[in-house]
């Protein structure tokens, strides 16, 4: 089924977002891959890996900083009707009915009214929404709204369907239902779609849908590994073969890129490191979940994720934080607590704070830096704006704010400094 000449080829894509004054923010680097006719490809990665940005570059919505995307020999510089897109939050015009929403793309092509209607009705039929033609989007549930999004993309008869986390805004059951329908539409050959590119952060979803999974590294994003899936459809999510594939993907995502000595990846961390946005209670909850397992040396991450109802977008920041603080080690899809991690998890509330404070000061340079600044000053007071300005020398505005908010949250919990929201002052005072 797979054709040898690529349908789409992505070569040397690099994308930076320009920040005035500040060093450029690199989102994508060295992007190279081909998409062939007859396959569904999943772009899998956690948030911040630039996968949605890449999809928008392929769609021609935003230009790459360098490199190019070629579709059937033609470079893509603006959106073309052959590539159509399904959006994460459905993106339906609230003032148009289902039918009018679906007709929109045909209207743009100047299709006559009668033909427009017939084709739109046919597309609505394909996604199973007949009877709702005259409904407004707000009358529809999330699942039905995304069906409209799908019909709208199908009606223009595209060659490639681009899907930007199309099921992530839906509840678990609805998402499963829609995935099944997507596969049915794909296999029924009622449409002329030659290929589907789907962006997702859900490992199971990628394994259910894709013929090929491209695993993205983050910060900056590039394809760190690739996995072909030959399992026949429909795929049984309970089968051992499926579970093994999911485990493999976890392994691919957690194996350190460069074989390094123990935890050396955090040794070169400086105060501008992008701290993962994790709250203390998330971290503690995760620790407790680990403690619930019998074999504390190797706790299976996929199992843990399912148990805590965590998507990889939520879980990997937590494991990153634990590794950074030297409280845990992650490799090949497993996590194990360090000695200190164990004693933290077993301690009472006050001891926990104490242990956490020690690890925070020892391992997070930014926390260290803030504490030193406060120690040095005679008043022991400094404004958050001061630290924000320093962070902004190397980080973009939003990221700098996130990082500072995170470190303030951790520092307050550890009681290594205190913070007053109204005045924005960090100090060594106790709140009055």
């Amino acid at each position: 089924m797979v054709d040898k000449t690529p349908l789409i080829s992505v070569s040397n894509i690099r994308k930076t977002f320009n920040k005035p004054r500040v060093s450029e923010l690199l989102v994508l680097d060295h992007m190279n891959f081909d998409i062939y006719s007859g396959e569904i490809v999943a772009l899998l990665g956690r948030s911040g890996s630039g996968k949605s940005t890449l999809l928008r570059i392929i769609a021609g919505l935003i230009p790459p900083t360098s490199g190019k995307v070629v579709f059937c020999g033609q470079p893509i510089v603006e959106p073309i009707p052959e590539l159509s897109m399904v959006f994460q939050n459905f993106a339906l015009m609230p003032w148009l009915t289902v039918l009018e929403n679906v007709e929109l793309g045909l209207e743009a092509q100047g299709v006559a009214k009668e033909e427009r209607r017939t084709r739109a009705l046919a597309a609505i039929d394909v996604v199973g929404l007949d009877g709702f033609e005259s409904a407004y989007p707000k009358e529809l549930s999330g699942g039905m709204a995304q069906r409209v999004g799908l019909a709208r993309a199908l009606v223009v008869d595209p060659d490639v369907l681009l899907m930007d986390e199309p099921f992530s805004a839906l509840d678990v059951l609805t998402a499963e239902n829609l995935r099944g329908d997507l596969i049915n539409i794909w296999r029924s050959e009622k449409t002329n779609i030659k290929s589907v590119i789907i962006v997702t952060h859900n490992i199971e979803e990628a394994v259910i849908l894709a013929d090929r999974i491209l695993v993205f590294a983050h910060d900056p994003g590039y394809v760190r590994s690739e996995l072909a899936i030959d399992m026949p459809r429909p795929r049984d999510t309970e089968s051992s073969e499926f579970r093994q594939l999911v485990d493999d993907v976890y392994g691919l995502m957690t194996t350190p890129l460069v074989k390094t000595t123990e935890r050396a990846q955090f040794d070169n961390m400086d105060q501008f490191y992008r701290l993962p946005k994790v709250t203390i209670s998330e971290m503690m909850g995760f620790l407790e979940a680990i403690m619930g397992h019998s074999d504390l040396d190797r706790v299976d991450l996929p199992e843990l994720a399912e148990e805590c109802h965590l998507e990889i977008d939520d879980m990997f920041p937590i494991t990153e934080m634990l590794e950074m603080l030297r409280l845990a080690r992650v490799s090949e899809g497993d996590i194990s607590l360090t000695k200190e991690g164990l004693s933290l998890a077993r301690a009472d509330i006050l001891q926990r704070k104490h242990i956490f404070a020690n690890h925070l000061l020892a391992n997070v340079p930014l926390a260290q830096f803030i504490r030193e600044t406060l120690d040095k000053r005679e008043s022991h007071v400094a404004s958050e704006a001061h630290f924000l300005d320093i962070l902004k020398q190397h980080l973009s505005g939003k990221v700098a704010e996130d990082v500072l908010t995170t470190v303030i949250d951790w520092g307050r919990y550890a009681e290594i400094f205190s913070y007053e929201y109204n005045s924005g002052l960090l100090s060594l005072e106790n709140p009055t």
Binding site: A59, S84, M85, A91, L350, N430
Partner: protein, 583 residues
């Protein structure tokens, strides 16, 4: 807590830190506070001077008088604002708490906000002069009352709206923890309503400058009443056709608006953003130099703590604690019913008597011909209002969309438009008047732009806000489907901004009606120009002291405004909210 205490004690060695030692910022902040207090007290004392009807207060056109006049004007504004807040806190709360009060108050306010403010003035000024015989307080109160009526209605409605939408859970929590009604008011209801109340107060302040300026120099029953202030200064400058003075007062006004924005609203906005109940805050938090300054000062932080102690006593004093209820006393249902019914009957009959008296008052002087003539004039003004809204929409909608699509540009344009909306448009009237005289233009057509001069900005910045609020994904959709040009306007942009545009247009139209009284009758030196319309009719009647005609014209105009609101704007607004609202 051992760990906590150890960390804490270690850094308490500087005992002086607990005292409020003034720092450099204190000096600056102190000077500002003292200056403001002195200025306000001094100019308030001038309000109590002597006044008798027919007396002419001298106004000087020299630049050195301007700061004094500006101060007097600002004091009037602030007093009116205080009254408005008091009214809002009491009446809106009453309406929100009592079903019976709600039934009467809310429709009444809805009507009252349609009554032309300046028409009000000519009627009330006489009352106040009689009330404070021989004192400056008479005309002062009349001017303040005019500003009050320009400010208060939307503040009250917004506060009422917030009170009835306080989340049920929060109300339940305050019941469970036994807060008294007084405590609940200050701890829950006021903070909850704050952001929207503040926003409405700001809009009110902006809108009322026009009327403040117009109400300081007023001719009623052939008597010219002038109060020292920027408004009288403008009036005199127009009378003497003094271009130089007009420029001077424009600059003064500019400075005044800039100052109150910096000293009052920016601090309040920045503060309300911090205590905002809603999780999603604005992209850019409003920042305030003044708030930063005061937060940096030690003495003022100390004073702030003192104030919070006073606040603590007021809000939580023993006298407001909820009495512990042990026994529920049975209410006498039938007695209450009887009381309510008799109250309604009393109100109804009072209304009937009032209407009958009003009819008697008007019927003496009004012929049917007069009556129809005023209705005709109202129609002329209605056409004028409608046309200026259409014309300014054609101009500002494309510009607003263009600005809104570029976030950098919007960041600059938005505050400027808001500032321009606060700038009293009557300052620019002389410019247009001069042009009309110079080019011999048609008065009926060319005075129309004056009506929209001050309020067109509402259309602009609402359109900008609407475009910014449109999710980028929708633009992505139109891009991937290659929807461009007019189709994109028709399917995405115009429907997307519709709710915002309608809000802007309603505000602009309301403002246009209100200002018609000064926009349809303009003068410059010895030139007096009257356009045909109910606004110029009102001006004429008020100058002649023909109160029966005046009252009738005010009623006709209010009916027009109410009808327009009910027949045109409200259905459009409802449509906008049902069909075109995002989410």
């Amino acid at each position: 807590m051992s760990f906590h205490r150890r960390m804490g004690r270690k850094y308490h060695k500087y005992e002086a830190f607990d005292w409020a030692l003034p720092n450099a910022w204190d000096l600056l902040a102190g000077v500002i506070v003292l200056l403001v207090l002195t200025a306000l007290a001094w100019s308030t004392s001038h309000m109590l001077g002597h006044f008798s009807v027919g007396q002419h207060l001298p106004i000087h056109l020299e630049a050195r008088y301007l700061p004094y006049y500006a101060l007097r004007t600002v004091v009037r504004m602030l007093i009116a604002l205080a009254c408005s807040l008091l009214f809002t806190f009491t009446i809106a709360t009453w309406a929100a708490k009592s079903r019976h009060a709600e039934r009467i108050i809310i429709p009444l306010i809805d009507i009252l906000q349609s009554v032309p403010v300046l028409g009000f003035l000519s009627i009330t000024v006489v009352g106040f002069i009689v009330l404070f015989k021989g004192s400056m307080l008479g005309p002062e109160c009349a001017a303040i009352f005019a500003i009050f009526t320009a400010q208060v209605w939307n503040m009250t409605l917004s506060f009422y709206q917030s009170l009835i939408t306080v989340p049920k859970e929060l109300k339940e929590a305050s019941h469970v923890f036994q807060l008294s009604a007084w405590q609940r008011f200050w701890r829950l209801e006021v903070p909850f309503a704050m952001p929207s109340l503040l926003w409405n107060t700001m809009m009110s302040m902006s809108g009322s400058w026009v009327f403040l300026v117009a109400s300081e120099a007023f001719t009623v029953a052939n008597h010219k009443i002038t109060l020292p202030g920027l408004g009288s200064y403008i009036a005199l400058a127009i009378e003497r056709a003094n271009t130089h003075a007009i420029w001077l007062v424009m600059m003064a006004m500019f400075a005044v608006i800039l100052l109150y924005d910096q000293l009052i609203f920016r601090p309040l906005m920045a503060w309300s953003e911090k205590v905002n109940m809603h999780q999603s805050s604005l992209e850019t938090e409003p920042s305030s130099l003044v708030l930063d300054l005061f937060q940096r000062t030690r003495l003022f932080q100390y004073l702030g703590r003192w104030f919070s102690k006073v606040g603590e006593i007021i809000v939580n004093g023993r006298w407001v604690q909820k009495k512990r209820v042990t026994l529920k006393v049975e209410q006498h249902y039938y007695w209450r019913l009887l009381a309510m019914v008799s109250l309604y009957i009393a109100l109804g009959s009072a209304l009937c008597v009032g209407l009958y008296r009003l009819y008697g008052f008007l019927a003496v002087a009004l012929t049917w011909h007069d009556a129809w003539h005023v209705v005709f004039l109202g129609a002329v003004t209605a056409v004028r209002v409608f046309s200026v809204i259409v014309v300014s929409s054609i101009i500002w909608v494309p510009i607003g969309v263009w600005v809104g699509r570029s976030s950098k540009l919007a960041a600059y344009v938005q505050p400027v438009a808001q500032f321009l909306a606060a700038f009293p448009a009557n300052l620019l009237f002389p410019v247009v008047t001069m042009a009309i005289i110079h080019y011999h233009l048609n008065v009926n057509i060319w005075t129309s732009p004056l009506m929209i001069l001050g309020t067109q900005w509402y259309i602009l910045f609402n359109v900008i806000a609407g475009v910014i609020a449109l999710p980028n994904q929708l633009f992505d959709v139109t891009d991937t489907l290659c929807v461009r040009g007019w189709l994109r306007w028709k399917r995405l942009i115009l429907p997307g901004i519709f709710p915002y545009f309608i809000t802007g247009a309603i505000t602009a139209a309301g403002g246009a009606w209100n200002i018609s009284m000064i926009a349809e009758a303009v003068e410059w030196g010895k030139h007096h120009m009257y356009a045909t319309g109910i606004g110029s009719y009102l001006t004429e009647m008020s100058q002649q002291g023909n109160f029966r005609h005046l009252v009738y014209a005010v009623i006709v105009m209010s009916v027009y405004v109410v009808l327009f609101n009910r027949i045109v704007w409200r259905p459009l607004y409802r449509l906008a909210n049902q069909r075109f609202q995002l989410n």
